[in-house]
């Protein structure tokens, strides 16, 4: 998926983060020679296909986000083409306030058009 400058700015506006690095190309260029870049959690919007590892009839439709860990290797700039690949790394059951809950741990790797690893995100999704 291609990263568009306008989308970076719209994302920054939505999270109400006025940092010029993700809002204004001219000001960003005065601060960093590489210019505008995406804020830390921007890649979140890039969705991968439905996870192959989960069965078709996975009976838990409701979900909550349990947490997310990012590791960054390269900055993301307008014009980059990012590919996201998600795999399930763990799956376990727990009982809690909402009854029986399934914890689904996934890791997503994001690579750019130069085949460079840009970031990884490990996510915990709670299905119930």
């Amino acid at each position: 998926m291609e990263v568009e400058r306008g989308h970076i700015k719209a994302f920054a506006e939505a999270i109400e983060d006025p940092n010029p690095l993700w809002n204004d190309e001219n000001v960003a260029r005065q601060k960093l020679s590489t210019g505008m870049m995406a804020p830390p959690t921007f890649l979140r919007f890039i969705r991968t296909e439905r996870l192959q590892e989960l069965p078709e009839d996975f009976p838990y439709n409701r979900s909550l986000d349990g947490g997310s860990q990012w590791e960054y290797f390269e900055s993301v700039k307008p014009g980059d083409r990012i590919k996201a690949v998600t795999t399930v790394t763990d799956l376990y059951k727990k009982s809690g306030k909402l009854g029986e809950m399934i914890f689904v741990l996934t890791t997503t790797t994001y690579t750019n058009q130069f085949n460079k690893l840009v970031a990884t995100q490990t996510n915990t999704s709670i299905r119930y």
Binding site: A14, D17, R44, R62, G66, Y72
Partner: protein, 145 residues
Amino acid sequence: MHQTLYWEDVTVGTEIPPLVKNPSNRQLVRYAGVSGDFYEIHYDKDFAISTGLNGIIIHGALKQAFLGQLITDWIGPTGTLKKLSAQYRGMDEPGSPLICKGKVVKTYVHNHLHFVDCEIWIENSKGQQFTPGSATVLLPIKPRD
């Protein structure tokens, strides 16, 4: 103008200047739009209640974005964020302020690069801390004369 934050400026216990955010229903809808997360628990109260929640809740990823801002405001353009994590242990609702806070827990040098580890968290208006996390940043060192 942002003053450069150098690795030598921080030590274990250094507090990160707090960041106050005021998430509203409107912001949640806007965030749903740009992030592509249209799960109804973030903007449809009846739907949220039908899933067992008390009302609409703030996206965990939006709270993580607030923590990202806490760190990037602090380190400025010369610092580099290497790791950012957050756990969503409780529900925060829109309509009251969230205060993002953090402090330095470790400073170290690895492969000639100067790192700082931080503990970060968000406090809601009731003083509850539902969003603990951590961050690792790379900072420049002071130029030698």
